[in-house]
């Protein structure tokens, strides 16, 4: 069986300094949904042995999920190839709030929140990219002291109606949502960042397209070459309903989740997402995609396990960590071989219903959460004859074997 997980993880530790342009582009493109433009990217790479690559974030949230890591994985490829990475922390722009893909305005952050969020943020992305490879800048450093004259010169180049007519703004206004003046200025401020840093290449999610267009315009009007923009897709969440990964949809995998949780959640994604996730999190060469896609098509379960192994192992750069989770997962789910340590033991009176016993276990937020799991036929006893769907009224004395509640919780009942 082909082991893509091991192949990609071995590649992870390679240095790509001095790599041929075509070879590097071949690694970058599978991660991109759109590039403006590929020809310019190749040209820039040929002209500048060390490109200035910009990636900016507004520290608006402290806890991130792996969807936020997708552009970081692309950034990492540039870092491996020895390019200069300018990592912008939007402490100035965070006070305004990026309007991108928002239904409503963002709440501007205080300086204290920004510092706190940044500490948590960098500790999380540090799992995926060596922070020593980043040149970290805070954009308040150059935006804050800009004089009226300086900002006037830039603002006069941007048509007001155009800036206010962005599709996302129009959609919000149609829905009766407010768009603030600060949000209208946001893309321009991003452009000032690029001018200040002399950016050659900028990386971000496809949802940033309108901001990137503003950046390119500002650079052009400032007499500079427009930056090349590489945009990554927005990662679809685990639930398979087509929604983007988001905390608010509950379909996310937290960067700070345990390896077990990450592995389990990757295993829950629909098969059609395996290819997208591989592209986002592995260093896949474009010419390998055909083989990878064929493998996924023919062995979706195996491919998913390799993907989960890879994502877990990428954090620690040790394949053993991924393989350990795989082994644990297979023991629990594929082989239905639950060992003692996997189970929570509950000692109850014979006539106690398992609903009440589960409530008492303290493992669930509420009784209704458990009831929902029963309704969804998600409470089953597992024994040598297979799985039996349980009802909430069944008493502890009647239960045989291990009881699985939901996807990943196991209980063993002992009568008092």
């Amino acid at each position: 069986m082909k082991r893509f997980d091991q192949q990609f993880l071995t590649r992870d530790s390679e240095s790509w300094v001095g790599m041929e342009v075509d070879e590097l582009v071949g690694f970058l493109l599978p991660k991109c949904q759109e590039v403006i433009t590929i020809d310019r990217l190749r040209q820039r790479m040929s002209e500048h042995p060390t490109l200035k690559v910009k990636f900016g974030i507004d520290p608006t949230a402290s806890e991130i999920h792996i969807g936020h890591v997708v552009p970081i994985m692309l950034l990492r490829q540039f870092a491996k190839a020895g390019h200069h990475i300018d990592f912008i922390i939007g402490d100035f722009t965070a006070r305004i709030g990026d309007p991108t893909a928002r239904d409503t305005g963002r709440v501007p952050l205080s300086p204290e929140q920004i510092v706190k969020n940044m500490e948590t943020y960098t500790s999380q992305i540090g799992k995926y990219i060596d922070l020593r490879m980043l040149h970290i800048h805070y954009n308040a450093e150059w935006l804050n002291p800009m004089t009226l004259q300086e900002i006037f010169t830039i603002f006069q180049q941007i048509n007001l109606s155009e800036a206010m007519q962005r599709e996302d703004f129009r959609a919000r206004m149609r829905n009766g949502q407010a768009v603030s003046l600060a949000e209208v200025c946001y893309g321009v401020l991003m452009g000032i960042d690029s001018v200040h840093l002399g950016t050659h290449v900028e990386i971000g999610g496809i949802d940033q397209l309108l901001n990137f267009q503003q950046c390119r315009k500002i650079m052009r009007q400032s007499g500079m070459d427009e930056e090349v923009v590489l945009m990554t897709p927005i990662l679809e969440g685990t639930s398979g309903d087509g929604k983007k990964m988001s905390k608010s949809y509950g379909n996310y995998i937290a960067v700070n989740a345990t390896h077990e949780d990450k592995f389990g959640k990757i295993m829950s994604i629909p098969d059609r997402l395996i290819g997208q996730y591989f592209r986002c999190f592995a260093d896949v060469q474009q010419r390998e995609l055909k083989e990878l896609d064929a493998f996924i098509r023919e062995n979706p379960m195996e491919a998913k396990k390799q993907l989960a192994t890879l994502i877990v192992a990428t954090e620690t750069r040790r394949i053993e960590d991924g393989l350990r989770e795989r082994e644990f997962f297979e023991r629990k789910f594929s082989h239905k071989n639950i060992c003692h340590e996997d189970c929570i033991e509950l000692t109850e009176d014979t006539n106690t219903t398992i609903l009440d016993a589960l409530v008492k276990s303290g493992q669930f937020k509420s009784k209704s959460e458990i009831r929902r799991l029963f309704e969804q036929q998600g409470v089953r006893s597992m024994n040598e004859n297979g799985e039996v769907i349980l009802s909430p009224e069944i008493v502890v004395g009647q239960v045989r074997g291990v009881v699985r509640v939901g996807k990943r919780r196991f209980f063993r009942f002992v009568t008092a």
Binding site: A140, F155, N159, S161, A178, S180, C185
Partner: protein, 190 residues
């Protein structure tokens, strides 16, 4: 002369009005400017105040930026304002460049988070809207700058309120959201 007023200044004692009037330092529209001291007097009577001080806030910074004037050109124009305004009945004349020291983006951009695009569009004069294809983001910048100036002036000169032309009604109604409580007297200028 005064169309209407909104009074919510906390500075009511002693019973003296200290009103600010903001003007761009460009060519001097004498007839237009002379309306304001009269309006200030009317405001005093309406409020039953003992006295009124009208302070002209002459913005000599924005025109220098927006019209690319040299410092010398601007100074000549400002000097004419300083000479003329007291004769027209203004009690104090303050140059913005003298009391607004922080002209950096960080000082005034935060106001932009509190004003919506729809509100802003409403406060733009009709004359500008008809040529909206030519408008730039500097319309927003001018607005923010003006709020910044007023915010400092209200505090620096302990103004109780502002005397403003009714044509700028939406501007000053929006500004009330961003500035500390103050009186506004809207003057009919036509």
């Amino acid at each position: 002369m005064i169309a209407y007023s909104i009074c919510e200044s906390p500075h009511t004692h002693p019973n003296v009005l200290r009103l600010g009037f903001s003007v761009w330092a460009r060519t001097l529209p004498k007839d237009y400017l002379s309306i304001y001291p009269k309006a200030a007097e009317e405001a005093r009577k309406r409020a039953g105040s003992e006295n009124v001080f009208l302070c002209a806030l002459v913005d000599d910074v924005w025109p220098m930026v927006a019209l690319s004037r040299t410092y010398r050109e601007q100074q000549n124009i400002s000097d004419r304002f300083i000479a003329l305004l007291p004769d027209l009945g203004f009690h104090e004349v303050r140059l913005v460049s003298d009391f607004v020291k922080d002209v950096t983006l960080g000082a005034y951009l935060s106001h932009a988070t509190k004003v919506t695009v729809s509100e802003f569009w409403k406060l733009l004069p009709q004359s500008k809207k008809t040529i909206s294809d030519n408008l730039t983001l500097n319309e927003i910048l001018e607005f923010l700058w003006h709020i910044h100036v007023l915010e400092i002036a209200l505090s620096e000169f302990r103004l109780t309120g502002l005397l403003v032309g009714i044509r700028s009604e939406f501007f000053y109604l929006t500004a009330r959201k961003l500035l500390p409580p103050h009186d506004v007297y809207f003057v009919n200028t036509t």
